[in-house]
Symmetry: D2
Subunit: 305 residues, 4 copies
Amino acid sequence: MALTPEQAAEIERQRSTVTTTSRAVSPGLEEVLYSAHEVLDHGFVRVIDYMGNDDAVVQAARVSYGTGTKKKRSDAGLIRFLMRHRHTTPFEMCEIKLHVKLPIFVARQWIRHRTASVNEYSARYSKLDREFYLPAKEHLAAQAGAAGRQGRGNILCDEQADRVLASLKGDSALTYQHYEQMLSSENQQGLARELARINLPTSIYTQWYWKIDLHNLLHFIKLRTDRHAQLEIRLYAEELARLVRLWVPTVWGAFEEYEQGAINLSRSQAELIRRRVAGERITHGESGLTAREWKELCEVFDFGS
Amino acid sequence: MALTPEQAAEIERQRSTVTTTSRAVSPGLEEVLYSAHEVLDHGFVRVIDYMGNDDAVVQAARVSYGTGTKKKRSDAGLIRFLMRHRHTTPFEMCEIKLHVKLPIFVARQWIRHRTASVNEYSARYSKLDREFYLPAKEHLAAQAGAAGRQGRGNILCDEQADRVLASLKGDSALTYQHYEQMLSSENQQGLARELARINLPTSIYTQWYWKIDLHNLLHFIKLRTDRHAQLEIRLYAEELARLVRLWVPTVWGAFEEYEQGAINLSRSQAELIRRRVAGERITHGESGLTAREWKELCEVFDFGS
Amino acid sequence: MALTPEQAAEIERQRSTVTTTSRAVSPGLEEVLYSAHEVLDHGFVRVIDYMGNDDAVVQAARVSYGTGTKKKRSDAGLIRFLMRHRHTTPFEMCEIKLHVKLPIFVARQWIRHRTASVNEYSARYSKLDREFYLPAKEHLAAQAGAAGRQGRGNILCDEQADRVLASLKGDSALTYQHYEQMLSSENQQGLARELARINLPTSIYTQWYWKIDLHNLLHFIKLRTDRHAQLEIRLYAEELARLVRLWVPTVWGAFEEYEQGAINLSRSQAELIRRRVAGERITHGESGLTAREWKELCEVFDFGS
Amino acid sequence: MALTPEQAAEIERQRSTVTTTSRAVSPGLEEVLYSAHEVLDHGFVRVIDYMGNDDAVVQAARVSYGTGTKKKRSDAGLIRFLMRHRHTTPFEMCEIKLHVKLPIFVARQWIRHRTASVNEYSARYSKLDREFYLPAKEHLAAQAGAAGRQGRGNILCDEQADRVLASLKGDSALTYQHYEQMLSSENQQGLARELARINLPTSIYTQWYWKIDLHNLLHFIKLRTDRHAQLEIRLYAEELARLVRLWVPTVWGAFEEYEQGAINLSRSQAELIRRRVAGERITHGESGLTAREWKELCEVFDFGS
């Protein structure tokens, strides 16, 4: 796994250092503070710090509504109302700081979420460790569908999987060996780290501190737990989802009801459902939907034959 | 109306200055460039500049998909696909710059959209004009519902409307008169502009240049054309909607289909619809929805009695 | 002052609720958590929550430098290095949440800082309180300089100040009285709150929760403690500066050395200083600087006559 | 070079398509629109679109100052004033859209600038081309200084350079060969593109559309033309600088005077200069500066011995 004995000891030290505070506290998150939650073969997610909890969302919302809504609505009801009507600013009032270890190709997808703060390990300052992501056999899948599609199809047969793994393993070992040779100052000047690292593959692990507010984190989770997201980042997003549930359980419940589990109907789809509910039979031919939209709709609602 | 003769002449001059360019052009928007579209009693929206058109969205999307999707899909189909799957970054590739004149209380709601650039008229540098928003009689409405609600209810009766208008008109005239007296340097030192203006009401007009990308503009339009938005900003948002339709007609069509006209079903609502489509009778009692959510659902889908 | 007895009791309750946490703590800020720091006649700033401290900045920076710089530099030395070289991302790793009560004209300047989260009291949901900013006599100043300048000049004479204060006081009282009359549902329908409030002056107080990271807060402080900033927002910025000093004393020291107390020389100014240090006499005539730039340079460096 | 014949023909087509517009035009940038400016061995920068010019900055600033400053100041003088006082918002009113081809390790540094829009070529949708960055021999340098430093020192000797180039060339060729084998559907299922690409090195080229406003672009240029930036991204930044000079020559001049060529003195350094200008002798011993700060100061100002 991903932690050295020094790191494990440091985490133990952090966890056992307890002070008092008058700030809002999330009991669920205090439980797992600093602990490494493993993702992929060498990666992890650690909560380093956080600000706010379910109450902080309520508190911020109540300032907006002033004396008006005080006590009119329960806290859970207010959170559901906010989520349902996409009043997103109170969710920005909570913040979390994570330590994440992840392969570079995942980091490249991750960093596209711009409303966050990042401090990444710099391969210009320090040498990268010899840790590469090697997919589990059950995750080695063929290209899905035709040209111009993303995503994975069937799992590879054992024999082909072995070939692929051997290739990935061999190449990463080789490039790392050359990386070390280029850096070495034995009988030569060591090549600049910023140059030596350019030939390392994007499967190598990097790490960073990543800080984001709850609203933007939920957006990240929504996009990255989607079935179109690449499996590897999806596994991180699912770990983040578990942490959010510990941190702000009421917010998480509302998020599942109104976002994760929600269904967005286009204007035409809504019209079809309206007619169907009113008793009409609906067929693709007269629906006006593309094949793909019709298929997606039928996956959710059973129009019969 | 809002324009002085000098401003009208300046707009004429700008409109008639034509040069050549190799850049993408939007014929629809060139037609109305610089023109003042009136909103409220003294306000307006003017398009000062823009970048990109429907094709620019397609072009940016095609770089993502590489050789993969080239020609696979029509341009309009691709734009609808992007909108449907919330692939929002290609819509950020278009940009628009507007000159807007608007009352301060509208400006305060407007500025909450942070992903935009603003240059506002400064009342520290220059004197504000004597222009105040006075609602049309048909827009003078009573407070809606109970305590802790926003929004408007019934239109006021004529007599009460006259009282309100007299009050609004009288107070703004009075405070402006005092504003000028405080600024005046006749027989006294003129008070600093930055102080004299603090007692002017939020119904006074200000103006700004506002620049935003198409993705964020569509988000603005979605939120501010909503029936919960205050009428005054809604009228501006509707004017912006008309301009977007001229600018990027294909994007606008997709936006109407997948965003403006779309319906978001919560997990529980989707489950109810699923059961209803499968033939079950649904009643509020067994639905698990709050009264409000049930009501909203019934407004869209007719469950019969 | 700005607090009602209920608010004071609530603050006492918040301050006395103490829990344990394993998170980073700032002893200086815990001391003043929730307390109201008065600004202007009815305003305040309260720290509601925070995340991180001096160590958190160091920790984030060390992840970037990896094993490379560990222990090479003291923590204070590292913070000064980061500030000096404008490595700003580690300062984003600290976050603060404030409750601020402030006049609307100050809020309008404040909100221009976009990288922050805000929940403001809504005058559509609730009635505004009868609290207006009335400048202290010693702050009532004449307009500075000629047309097209911002800022304040001489303090007004006593008699004129009295006239100004009477005018500000009278108008705000009058408009508030009309506000209440329009809202009243005695013998009439109460006008919608969102309309009734449009004639209130920008000197009326509003309040909000405002959350921002340390990097952007320092930027706010730099711009808003500047002598060109309007006095009223400057007083808030100075209160924020005091809070930052309590929160992250080492960061604050570095900020004073490398930002607040720093001097930026233009290319031409630097060249002049270079020549002067090398022993040359420098005069405005041969300097190539505008009168204003020359004057500013001479205010800092004494070139003799 | 980086362009295929199809691309060259497409660029020719784009350049020769000329329409009329009433928008602001930058003659300098129209000249080079769509053309590929080569950077590194296979990279380029192309201007695809832009909005605004020097006049647009002035126009936005003048709306802030209202009637106050109209015609008081020349346009160039106003731009210099804005740059000098860091009134940055008018510079946000110009926007540029670029097509950039660049190695992944450069893209990873580039993307850290968050206030921009990006559409990147997706290796999940399409196959990457066989193009890797191979440093020129004169850019192959040894690691600078001691542990915990970034940057490059001496150029490698010829023999070592040859070894390094052979290693970089060999590994990238090998991993690309394996990439194609894994993707191949001859006698096997092709591995999913999103997996096959993980072992490609960060020296492989990617491409994206990148859109940013002028203020943030200048900030990018300032940071990335700095001598501490890695050479490879610095070469891109210098190309961007050339394009900005063509686009908004007056802004560029002001930027050189007040930003690129400016010198920032810390509080202590400013005090030392003050004393030196007043005639004192200054030595490191009594300066209070660290060795590094003293050295940097002496590089700029000659204190004699």
